[in-house]
Amino acid sequence: MRRLAVALAAAVVLLGGCGKGESAASYNDTDVMFLQMMLAHHEPAGKLLELGERQASDPAVKAVATELAAGQAAETATIRSRLTSWGQPLVSTAHAGAHEAHGGLPLLDDAELLRLAGLTGREFDSTFLTMVIGHQHGAVELARMEAAAGTDPETRDLATRTDETVRAQIQRLLRMVA
């Protein structure tokens, strides 16, 4: 019995070694899905942040919109170039129906952005910040999925950074709306 176990262990080590040598890709499906979903996550936020920059009345709220939009633009560029270098599509058809689980409504559809655009003053500011918080929780969820199951070191790093920076943002935003 013990001999069998040793033989099995040796086989596993050998196979493991082989696998590593042959596989060129350092990434797995989770890495690809994380990057694709982050792109899909950033897209509607772009419109939201633009509206915040234009219409917020409190300069601190405007500053949040500007800061987040800049961070997001940089991240989008990184993600696009990584997916492209991997030869992976920027948009996953596999997750096109992801919103269906929630009855077909994404968090930030045009109707919600229009509703926000119709508000003014403090009401606009607090609604805008609350939408940003809700949206940013989604980024933390994606980042934690990647940290749990992704394999590409750089992509895992991106996830760790996203988790930390976005949670710090949420802390700050929650204090602003409290």
């Binding site: 979903m37 929630h102 968090l107 918080i133």
Partner: protein, 237 residues
């Protein structure tokens, strides 16, 4: 026998994991203002809360519980009254604002104090927007209270739970304590007579900050009157 049970259990577990991977964004919502207990944790005002800091939106449990964590297996810290949860000062009329991360079809939103339901809002299966607000009367209650809110999802057996600690005054709308004065606003770019400004644009002029209320060009801030295009936002630096 044991093995026969184990295999299906493992299969279900694998299925659950793969469902999670396929759609991780399945969380939901909580009250951000006045801050609920999970919001206090997520904004770092209450420390050592455990996993709730990663997902204040996920306090989901079967409907019907009167506990702050919904009686589920996670987030028991929310039930711990010895935590000295900060109480937000409010008046008799309180607006509860929800952060929403998934727009679940909703049957009702309920608010309780002690064992009594003080308000219910029936959405009849409609989906909420990306935010939700309810105005609730405290019904003459004063002093420190904990409001339990339940968001009842229409098409599942689950609800989302949030407890909000309040210090209720007898006054009408606002809190007992006036909000802290806002810091002096920062100045925008200097106003230019030739530039075109759209509604919302900020400029500085004569050491003050001005916001355009609509499209304008060539109208000097301070000369357009109280109801004119440039609204004075005070001294700035």
């Amino acid at each position: 026998m044991r093995r026969r049970i184990l295999l299906p259990v493992l299969t279900v577990a694998a299925l659950l994991v793969s469902m999670f991977l396929a759609a991780p964004a399945q969380a939901h919502g909580y009250i951000s203002s006045p801050p609920s207990r999970q919001a206090m944790c997520a904004q770092g005002r209450v420390a050592n809360c455990g996993d709730i800091v990663y997902e204040p939106q996920s306090v989901e449990a079967p409907k019907g519980s009167m506990q702050c964590n919904g009686g589920g297996s996670r987030f028991a810290v929310l039930n711990d009254n010895s935590r000295n949860w900060p109480a937000t000062s409010v008046g008799q009329s309180v607006t509860f604002n929800w952060v929403i991360t998934a727009r679940h079809a909703t049957s009702t939103w309920e608010y309780f104090v002690g064992g009594s339901r003080i308000a219910v809002f029936d959405d009849r299966g409609a989906q909420p927007g990306a935010t939700k607000s309810h105005n609730v009367s405290m019904g003459g209650r004063t002093g420190r209270i904990t409001v339990l809110a339940r968001w009842n999802v229409a098409d599942t057996a689950m609800a989302f739970y949030a407890c909000v600690d309040l210090q209720v005054g007898s006054g009408g709308g606002g809190g007992e304590n006036p909000p802290p004065p806002p810091p002096p606003p920062t100045c925008g770019s200097p106003w230019s007579a030739s530039a075109v400004y759209n509604g919302g644009a900020i400029v500085s002029y004569n050491g003050r900050r001005w916001q355009a209320q609509w499209w304008t060009q060539g109208e000097t801030p301070g000369t357009t009157g109280e109801w004119g295009v440039w609204r004075d936002q005070g001294a700035c630096s």
